[in-house]
């Protein structure tokens, strides 16, 4: 039997999942939580095999709650559910050591089997979640984005270098790397590409 704490601010989804999970697999829901703080309290109180937590919650969100829990229970198994995570969130979650990542729209049976797999010491990341993180994430570094932001205002390389207190060669390197990642030929095209993808 696997015990879980279920944290999700959407009551309808949470209660549906709480009713369905025990029917789908050998899972007992020890407690439900409707926000991050409650999730932390419930997890520390009940010490479940797995914490199933929604990423997007008001106040303390899923990531912060997991970070909180891990301070006391570093080995806590966590399955993070997401509607559609911002692409960089998966990266942060992996850094926190979250073992599972599944879409919220997934079948309850699938979620139950993922919980079982995580309990067995495996890791699980839904294909569409990781594909989205690869397809949709911004590949540019903060510095490259800064340079493109200034480029957009029409400055020359020399002016960008002065404004950002960088050497001209460094600015050229950032620009050429940004151009390569965006597969563009000029820095203005790269800036436009980044702007079109809402990265600036």
């Amino acid at each position: 039997m696997t015990t879980v704490v279920l944290a999700d601010d959407e009551v309808l989804l949470r209660s549906a999942l709480a009713s369905l999970l025990p029917l789908e697999g050998d899972i007992t829901v020890l407690a439900e939580a409707s926000d991050g703080a409650e999730a932390v309290r419930a997890t520390l109180a009940h010490r479940p095999d797995g914490l199933v937590i929604d990423l997007e919650m008001p106040g303390i969100d899923g990531l912060d709650a997991v970070a909180d829990v891990r301070r006391t229970l570093p080995g806590q198994v966590v399955l993070m559910l997401t509607r559609h995570a911002r692409p960089d969130v998966l990266r942060s979650a992996l850094k926190l050591g979250v073992q599972g990542f599944a879409g919220k729209a997934a079948e309850p049976a699938h979620i139950a089997s993922v919980i079982a797999a995580l309990h067995g010491g495996r890791r699980w990341i839904d294909q569409d979640v990781s594909a989205a993180a690869i397809v949709d994430d911004c590949p540019l570094t903060d510095r490259e984005l800064d340079v493109l932001r200034v480029t957009r205002d029409g400055y020359s390389v020399a002016e960008i270098a002065t404004r950002m207190h960088l050497a001209q060669g460094t600015v050229r390197n950032y620009l050429s790397s940004a151009m390569q990642k965006t597969q563009t030929r000029t820095r203005h095209e790269a800036a436009r590409y980044a702007r079109e993808h809402d990265w600036l």
């Binding site: 559609h84 397809v135 949709d136 205002d153």
Partner: protein, 393 residues
């Protein structure tokens, strides 16, 4: 839907303000030294007493203050005091100076030409008033000199009036120039916003098409199920099954709509995959050589699939990604050496790769698990005519 919020909506005036700052720096650097040097030279050459030097010097300072504020787009605030001082310096010079008068009309001409074109209205009348004032003071000086010569007329009236008129006249087109620049920048901002709005409209329309239809059908089917609940449970179950499938499809379509359109190129995806793997504590070496882009899309799919697989297997500590021309190889050291490679996810992909004329190989060797996709080289120039339709780019 939160990610859809247009993050790019800048405050509209940002770029306009930044160009104004640049013009300001440029103007200050180029013209401020010129204006002060000319003023200082005129005062030094034309003042005959210390008192005159003081008054004319105040005039020059007024010019510099007005110009500095003008570059900041803020001349209106100092317009009145500056104009008053400059206007007072001119008659003072006419009445007390003996000889050339340029130092005396220099302030009123410059300050006037800076202020007048920036007035909110009555610019033409103000310009005429300014020139008339300069001329009137000159005439006043003419009346106090006896005898009047043609040279006096030129020195006191014609040159100062002409100088003021020409300077003011030149500043009008200059003002238009700044307005045009500001317009262009505002236009650029508006264009960006418009694109965001248009995209949002299109998105809203598509979303309604997808979800509106489903909601309508679901409502009908549930109404039917309620009616049949006590009479025909088999039918109810069938209706519910259909509703379930329909809603599932709709969720899928909505997700496609919201997130499926953003295509990155394989180089960017490689970077993202690398960041993702590194976030999971896996070392990544990327060896990427630019190549023809014919099968970029499929290569990207292979990359995504293999990255997901590696993320699921916590044993991998090192991943090597090699891309050369039309092939992509992803190797990781997480193979546990038991059983055949898990090809379930890759089988479908292997079929698509081979449909496109490529080959997907999966092998395990010495603890390393390697997935490689290779496509034939793109057609050379001679074949291109025959395969242009198929290659499509």
């Amino acid at each position: 839907m939160e990610a859809r919020r247009p993050r790019g909506a800048l405050p509209p005036a940002t770029t306009a303000r930044s160009s104004r700052r640049r013009f300001r720096t440029l103007n200050l650097a180029v013209f401020l030294p010129v204006l002060s040097a000319v003023g200082a030279l005129l005062v030094a050459r034309q003042a005959q007493t210390w008192q005159q030097a003081c008054v004319l010097g105040i005039g020059v300072v007024t010019v510099l203050v007005a110009f500095e504020r003008w570059t900041a787009g803020d001349v209106a605030r100092v317009a009145l005091p500056c104009l008053a001082v400059a206007a007072a310096v001119w008659p003072y010079g006419v009445l007390t100076l003996d000889g050339p008068l340029a130092a005396a009309y220099y302030p009123i001409a410059v300050v006037g030409s800076l202020v007048v074109p920036r007035l909110p209205r009555h610019r033409g009348a103000a310009a005429i008033g300014l020139v008339a004032y300069v001329a009137a003071v000159g005439l006043l000086g003419l009346l106090t000199t006896t005898p009047v010569s043609a040279d006096d007329l030129v020195d006191l009236v014609v040159v100062p009036t002409g100088f003021t008129a020409v300077l003011t006249g030149l500043m009008f087109p200059n003002e238009r120039f700044y307005e045009v620049v500001a317009d262009i920048e505002a236009e650029r901002d508006r264009e960006g916003e418009l694109a965001v709005v248009r995209e949002r409209m299109r998105f809203a329309g598509d979303l309604h098409d997808i979800q509106g239809h489903t909601l309508h059908v679901v409502k009908l089917k549930i109404a039917l199920a309620r009616k049949l609940l006590h009479s025909d449970t088999d039918r109810v179950e069938q209706e519910l099954r259909e509703v379930y499938a329909l809603v599932g499809d709709t969720i899928e379509q909505t997700r496609e709509l919201a997130y499926g359109r953003r295509r990155l190129n394989i180089v960017a995806e490689l970077e993202n995959a690398k960041n993702l793997l590194e976030a999971a504590g896996i070392g990544v070496r990327v060896d990427c050589r630019a190549g023809a882009a014919r099968s970029d899309d499929l290569l990207a799919q292979v990359l995504r699939e293999t990255t997901t697989n590696i993320l699921r297997h916590s044993r991998a500590t090192l991943v090597r990604i090699t891309r050369a021309g039309n092939s992509l190889a992803v190797a990781n050291d997480g193979a546990d050496g038991q059983g055949p490679p898990d090809l379930r996810g890759l089988a479908d992909l292997a079929r698509r790769v081979s449909d496109d004329g490529g080959e997907l190989t999966v092998e395990r060797e010495g603890g390393w698990f390697r997935t490689a996709a290779t496509f034939p080289a793109p057609p050379v120039a001679g074949d291109r005519v025959a395969t242009a339709g198929e290659a499509g780019r």
